[in-house]
């Protein structure tokens, strides 16, 4: 076989494999959207869920998912940023750092059910949070932290060392170099990391069943006092998310239109994740252009 021929075969094989991946993805997303989108209506998005009768919506579940996502990112992003900066900029290459890295890897491969049960035992039972958004957000933080830390560390590492030397040679401290030069340069990678994690968090069900609970109590969307039990902002109330709702409808749903609702909810889930991805990407490149003044 001559090199030209073998190159053709290799290219063909690789191309074929890519086609398989793309087909699976398009098939999956297409199936969900095809089945789900006809069920989506303004009523579906804005109505309360029904327990026994048809015609329920997903208003509270959708809001709970978004709220939980924001809370989770609020807790996990600062921690991951600090840890990422430490691992990439300050940690010396010794056994302690290696142990930390290994532990982060172990944590990232922890099944989400286990994280959920851990959150249930520690926060819901032991600390007496009850089923609550806060318990869910903390459990998701555990679930989220390794990936986000790793992603931030990697983005910081891809900024060339020359930039650090340039900062140092101008008499800047490491801290000023990191915050003023390295972080802005690493921003696009960090934003990609947040998007990846947000997608995982938004679609997560198993860890939430035991922490944020499976019920969506009636809340008042005009009550902006987060301490009030009926406020939609109260972090101590139980909150069924979209993904948990889908799971529940398919396991114990008794409404006659359970299938339609779960199809519609799945489509909404995917659409929201897509919007979130594209939006964050646009935001990332916009801030990057702003900070670096590139056209």
């Amino acid at each position: 076989m001559n090199p030209k021929r073998s190159n053709q075969i290799a290219t063909g094989t690789i191309f074929g494999l890519v086609v398989i991946v793309v087909l699976i993805l398009i098939g999956l997303i297409g199936y969900i959207l095809f089945n789900g989108v006809p069920n989506i209506s303004w009523h579906f998005i804005t109505a309360e869920a029904q327990a026994f009768s048809a015609g329920g919506g997903i208003r509270d579940q959708l809001f709970n998912s978004l709220y939980l996502l924001i809370l989770t990112l609020l807790i996990s992003f600062p921690i991951a940023l600090g840890a990422g900066i430490y691992l990439s900029e300050y940690a010396s290459d010794n056994w302690i750092t290696n142990v930390i890295r290994t532990m982060i890897e172990v944590l990232s491969s922890l099944p989400s059910v286990v994280v959920g049960l851990f959150g249930y035992l520690l926060f819901v039972i032991k600390f007496g949070f009850g089923f609550s958004i806060l318990a869910g957000a903390i459990a998701l933080t555990f679930f989220n932290l390794p990936l986000l830390t790793r992603q931030i560390e990697e983005s910081l590492r891809t900024v060339p060392n020359l930039q650090r030397e340039a900062g140092m040679s101008l008499g800047l401290s490491s801290w000023k170099t990191v915050t003023g030069i390295i972080l802005p340069a690493a921003l696009p990678g960090i934003i990609t990391g947040i998007i990846l994690c947000a997608g995982r968090v938004f679609g997560e069900a198993a860890a939430l069943i035991y922490t944020a609970g499976q019920s969506a109590p009636v809340v008042d969307y005009l009550n902006f006092n987060p301490l009030s039990p009926t406020s939609f902002l109260n972090p101590m109330r139980p909150a069924e998310t979209l993904a948990v709702h889908i799971w529940k409808l398919n396991t114990e749903g008794v409404t006659p239109d359970a299938h339609q609702i779960s199809s519609g909810a799945s489509a909404v889930l995917i659409i929201v994740i897509l919007i979130f991805n594209l939006g964050a990407r646009a935001l990332g490149s916009y801030t990057y252009r702003k900070m670096t003044a590139t056209k």
């Binding site: 020359l162 930039q163 030397e165 340039a166 140092m168 101008l170 008499g171 401290s173 802005p184 340069a185």
Partner: protein, 264 residues
Amino acid sequence: MKNYNLDETYIINPQKESALSAKQVTVSYGTNHVIHAADLNFPRYKITSLIGASGSGKSTYLRCFNRMNDKIATVGGQIMYRDTDINNPKINVYELRRHIGMVFQRPNPFAKSIRENLTFALKKNGMTDKDELEMRLETSLKGVALWDEVKDKLDQSALALSGGQAQRLCIARSIAMQPDILLLDEPASALDPISTAKLEETLKTLSDQFSIIIVTHNMQQASRISNYTAFLHMGHVIEYDETENVFTNPHVRATEDYISGNFG
């Protein structure tokens, strides 16, 4: 490689006002000694070249002068700058680096606008006066003959500059701090001949106000721009003299072989 007697050296002491003087400087990575007791006296407002083969330790030696080896290697000996030993672990290295600036082999502008590249460090060091920042920006860019090329696009990204422009911007960034001494680590090695010529012109002009120490691979460059030249071999300073003497009348065999291309 030929073996040379590393104890055979010829080092002059320029009878001029000194910018920096290194005494018994050694550098080691763990137990591996890469620079051995090098003594040099660098005169003020002159250009001094450090030449030598790859791995001769010239870059490592240069990086001692603004403590860029701190986290990498152990540096021994004394480096006197204005009656202060800057190799003393207790000195304020951040302050030191504002007096002794450094430009690197590859242009490394920040991912910021041209203006921010020049003013970022000044602002972080507490300069708030807008007029003074503008003045520093303009004088530094003029100092490296870049002002006319970029004055209309100061708010555009510095990453869009060509290699030669970017390197001159990096020099401007260093001189905006108004240092005494500029250290340059092979600043032209990533540039084409035309950009190199411009850079050399810039350096010659700058030597009126700054003492310059430059590491270079290029012997023609050393002979074109520098007043003094030091030849390093295997971590030893073999010869240090006025540039003209080093290139026309070297005293040590190793230097002679190196500059005539008869080395190794």
